[in-house]
């Protein structure tokens, strides 16, 4: 193992068989192209065979996540965070994966519940990606769910697995403040997980940052919406409700949802 | 005044000199026979010019030098050549030697000799006279003195350093020489300065010999540019490179000789012996030897003819005590332990020591704990820890990258090693291996 040359040999196990004759370049290119074509055909076939299942699962994951943090909305709208503000439509020509998204949930009576927002930031080991329900008018959180984290198993990953930690976030107003376990004294304080202070704190910080960043935009959107709503309600009261619920591939959604 | 000039690192072993420092040197009774090895110096062995049965007088030439770096051997006694054969040498090997039976009832008076007139001699004649007298470095290395005196033309010598440090514990031979014959030391310096064509000389003496310093200062002739320096007591102050660093603040470049930086170093006893050559015409046949150690009944400083066997010396000094464990020729730091008491003393032998069990107690060897004490001790700033690892792994050639060749085997690293790893022994072995199997140049 010490000599790189021997390692090279191990990787390629045996020396190549001796060259017997010159192979024409045409044959080389032909072989490669042929192999490439076969590979391509195989891949396209597999891609199309598995795509529906994958897409469906991703959509399901997103739906479940939004459903969890917004406490079971009947439907939700996907909105885009554009430089000029939040909008339901993309500017023409723009690709939707380039924009951060927020999800606007409604209950069965079609009353808005709140927004599902994605927050991402450094944790103890790596990035923590969260989705959380938020009511911008009241400034209150509705619920949180960890989408991705690599926190210490059995310790930091309690932010994901410990329900008693997660439920603390339901219905409290931002900005949040992390305190030691058993020392909660104010409504907006979150008790940290014993032994996983950093991870707990990272969750609180990421949430606070996302709220500070997005709350003004959301409020502006709601204000604009309210204005449109009052004017539209007279002419077309069902306009908002009839907006189709757009389900987009979640993978692209979540990836570009990062700040 | 103690000079603050010194070298860095080094160690402070107990100096133990109080046993013999105040004892004036006395002539030791002549033994029944002496054994004179043909190789008492560095370089090529001398070649015998006598035959069995020849009658020789004290001071007669019995073996002549065979090369530029070699030295003749003179008979240290009057007697009859008994045998020319192999005899145990202090190095442990069996080497060619001339055994001379001391003539009973002989007055042991040398033949009258022509004393060379130093004032009229040329440089090369002075060094030839020194060479013919068989003078070698008496500090221990036994490098032929004359060979040092013809440095290459491009590096002229500008200062003579006289080494009176005697930093080895127990040894007081040089010390007694300085106290008893300061005038002879200065006479030797005078001759050397003339031979070298320079005016300056410096004498370095460790500060633990105030009487020697006083004697030298008192005897210092006013017409010579000679200064006497007291140096801090630290082993190996007497090593050539260390002495040069202390007295001139010059560093001998790695792999070069002191002459390359314009310095000639001679041991103080060597200088005195050179003086004696030009005073009496006698060649080098005897010297002051310190017989000491806690394992000896009556320590003392003795003038002993070369070739006297250890056994005879110990007998005169009352024999070994019951707890004596080791008999060492030279000092305890660099001297050679002797397993055979019939080994004779040589020109370079400054001491015969008997060490007790308590002094050289054999301790267990532990693995190296990388304490770094050896790096702190090495006066050459080597990395004995790394060298030791390489030596144990028998990666001798890599040791050269870590400057094994600069190691002078002073033993400081072994002395301080808490794990008792025989570092200097390992280095000796490595050096020997490399001398026998020189690395291929890449």
């Amino acid at each position: 193992m010490s000599d790189p040359a021997t390692l090279h040999d191990t990787a390629h196990a045996v020396p190549p068989p001796p060259l017997t004759q010159d192979v024409s370049t045409v044959k080389l290119v032909f072989t490669l192209v042929f192999a490439g074509v076969i590979a391509g055909v195989l891949l396209v076939f597999a891609f199309h065979a598995t795509l529906p299942a994958i897409e469906a699962h991703k959509a399901e994951v997103l739906r479940a996540a939004i459903g969890e943090v917004l406490k079971g909305p009947a439907r939700y709208e996907t909105l885009y965070v554009l430089p000029e503000g939040i909008s339901a439509t993309l500017p023409s020509g723009a690709r939707e994966k380039d924009f951060e998204k927020v999800f606007y949930g409604f209950d069965a009576q079609d009353t808005p519940i709140g927004f599902a927002l994605v927050a991402m930031g450094p944790g103890f080991q790596d990035q923590i990606k969260l989705i959380f329900g938020f009511d911008p008018r009241a400034g209150r959180l509705l619920g949180i769910k960890v989408l991705e984290s690599k926190e210490t198993p059995g310790l930091g990953d309690k932010i994901e697995k410990d329900a008693s930690f997660r439920t603390q976030f339901e219905g409290i107003a931002a900005p949040l403040l992390g305190v030691k376990k058993g020392e909660k004294s104010a409504e907006n304080e979150i008790e940290m997980i014993t032994g996983a202070t950093i991870s707990s704190r990272a969750v609180v910080r990421n949430l606070n940052q996302a709220v500070t960043r997005l709350q003004p935009l959301l409020l502006a959107y709601l204000d604009a919406q309210a204005k449109v709503g009052t004017t539209q309600e007279e002419s077309n009261p069902k306009a908002t409700a009839s907006t189709p619920n757009r389900v987009v591939p979640v993978d692209a959604d979540l990836r570009s949802a990062a700040p | 005044m103690v000079s603050f000039l010194s070298f860095r690192h080094g160690v402070h072993p107990p100096d133990e000199k109080e046993l013999t420092a105040k004892l004036a040197s006395r002539r030791m009774p002549f033994p029944k026979e002496v054994v004179l090895p043909l190789s008492q110096h560095l370089g090529a062995p001398a070649k015998s010019i006598v035959r069995v049965g020849d009658r020789v007088e004290r001071g007669d030439l019995i073996a002549e030098a065979t090369a530029a770096i070699s030295a003749p051997v003179h008979s240290s006694v009057s007697g009859v050549v008994q045998e020319i054969g192999f005899w145990p040498h202090p190095s442990g090997a069996q080497t060619p030697a001339i055994r001379i039976e001391v003539a009973p009832y002989s007055p042991q008076v040398p033949r009258p000799r022509l004393v060379p007139d130093w004032q009229t001699l040329e440089t090369k004649d002075i060094s030839e006279a020194i060479r013919r007298a068989g003078i070698v470095g008496l500090g221990g290395a036994a490098f032929p003195a004359a060979a040092k005196m013809t440095p290459p033309k491009e590096n002229p010598i500008d200062v003579l350093l006289v080494n009176g440090c005697e930093c080895e514990p127990y040894l007081t031979a040089d010390h007694r020489m300085m106290v008893e014959q300061p005038a002879r030391v200065f006479f030797g310096i005078r001759i050397l300065l003339k031979a070298l064509g320079i005016r300056r000389a410096r004498i370095g003496v460790e500060a633990n010999k105030p009487d020697a310093l006083a004697a030298l200062s008192a005897a210092c002739p006013s017409d010579l540019e000679v200064s006497v320096h007291a140096l801090p007591v630290k082993y190996p102050q007497g090593a050539e490179k260390m002495l040069i660093k202390a007295l001139t603040d010059r560093e001998v470049p790695s792999g070069k000789l002191p002459s390359s930086i314009g310095v000639l170093v001679q041991n103080v006893t060597t200088v005195a012996m050179i003086g004696e050559v030009f005073e009496t015409g006698l060649p080098l046949i005897e010297r002051i030897v310190t017989v000491s150690g806690r394992g000896i009944s009556k320590p003392g400083n003795w003038i002993i003819p070369f070739g006297t066997k250890i056994r005879d010396i110990l007998e005169v000094c009352g024999g070994l005590t019951s707890d004596a464990q080791e008999v060492v020729l030279g000092g305890p730091m660099m001297g050679l332990a002797q397993g055979n008491l019939d080994t004779p003393i040589l020109k370079g032998t400054g001491g015969v020591l008997a060490l007790t069990r308590a002094e050289c107690k054999t301790k267990n060897t532990y693995p190296c704990i990388r304490c770094g004490h050896c790096l702190e001790a090495c006066p050459i700033f080597l990395n004995p820890q790394m060298l030791g690892n390489l030596a144990k792994a028998e990666r001798y050639e890599e040791m050269l990258d870590y400057h094994l060749n600069d190691c002078m085997l002073c033993g400081c690293c072994s002395y301080v090693c808490p794990s008792n790893i025989p570092l200097s022994q390992l280095f000796l072995v490595s050096k020997t291996y490399l001398r026998k199997n020189p690395p291929r140049k890449s």
Binding site: M1, H8, P122, F124, I198, R201 | -
Partner: protein, 194 residues
């Protein structure tokens, strides 16, 4: 922006060190870590290829793979293999000395999972050009750090009386485990202070 780039760099270098935390590039780590000189050169070669890979992966993601995401793995590995080949030829032309020093390591890099890993991680995390670049630099620095640490430690254990069963891979794995334990100290770096 700047602080995020710094975080990406340090995260890839020490917090999520490619070798000691993410287990990427282990073949090189186990195989080319017995001499410090070799480790340094291998590290340098890796940094170089990592940066080029990051740029190429970014370009591929931006211009090609949107249309055909299923070609991701194939296109990455082909690009890496060709990159290594091109780098090898260029170095051979420009600096034969460097080629002699790096030459034998370059082919190894093709099958070094750190390179492909970088391209895939970068894609999964949606890094842009600069983020990818800093990610590659951090990853390369981390690889080199781990390699040099391991190599210098292995050089010094050459003198140790390692028990016969631990000689070789066993000891290297235990050392790597210890290094990995030590690197846990970096966890949460630059993200702990609030």
């Amino acid at each position: 922006m700047m602080s995020e780039l710094v975080w990406i760099f340090f995260s890839a270098m020490v917090v999520n060190n490619f070798t000691l935390v993410l287990f990427l590039g282990l073949c090189a780590f186990m195989g080319v870590s017995s001499r410090v000189e070799t480790a340094l050169r291998m590290g340098a070669a890796n940094i170089f290829v990592l940066v080029l890979t990051s740029i190429s992966a970014w370009a591929l993601n931006r211009f090609v793979l949107e249309a055909a995401p299923y070609l991701r793995i194939i296109s990455f590995i082909i690009v890496i293999a060709s990159l290594v080949q091109i780098v090898e030829m260029v170095i051979k032309k420009v600096s034969p000395t460097l080629f002699r020093q790096l030459g034998i390591y370059l082919p190894l890099i093709t099958t070094n999972c750190a390179i492909l890993g970088l391209a895939i991680f970068q894609t999964n995390r949606g890094y842009g050009f600069w983020e990818g670049l800093f990610f590659a630099l951090g990853a390369g620095a981390g690889l080199t750090l781990a390699l040099v640490l391991m190599a210098s430690i292995r050089e010094s254990t050459e003198f140790s009386d390692v028990p016969s069963i631990a000689k070789g891979t066993g000891l290297v794995l235990i050392i790597a485990g210890s290094l990995s334990l030590a690197f846990m100290g970096f966890a949460g770096l630059l993200s702990g202070g609030a």
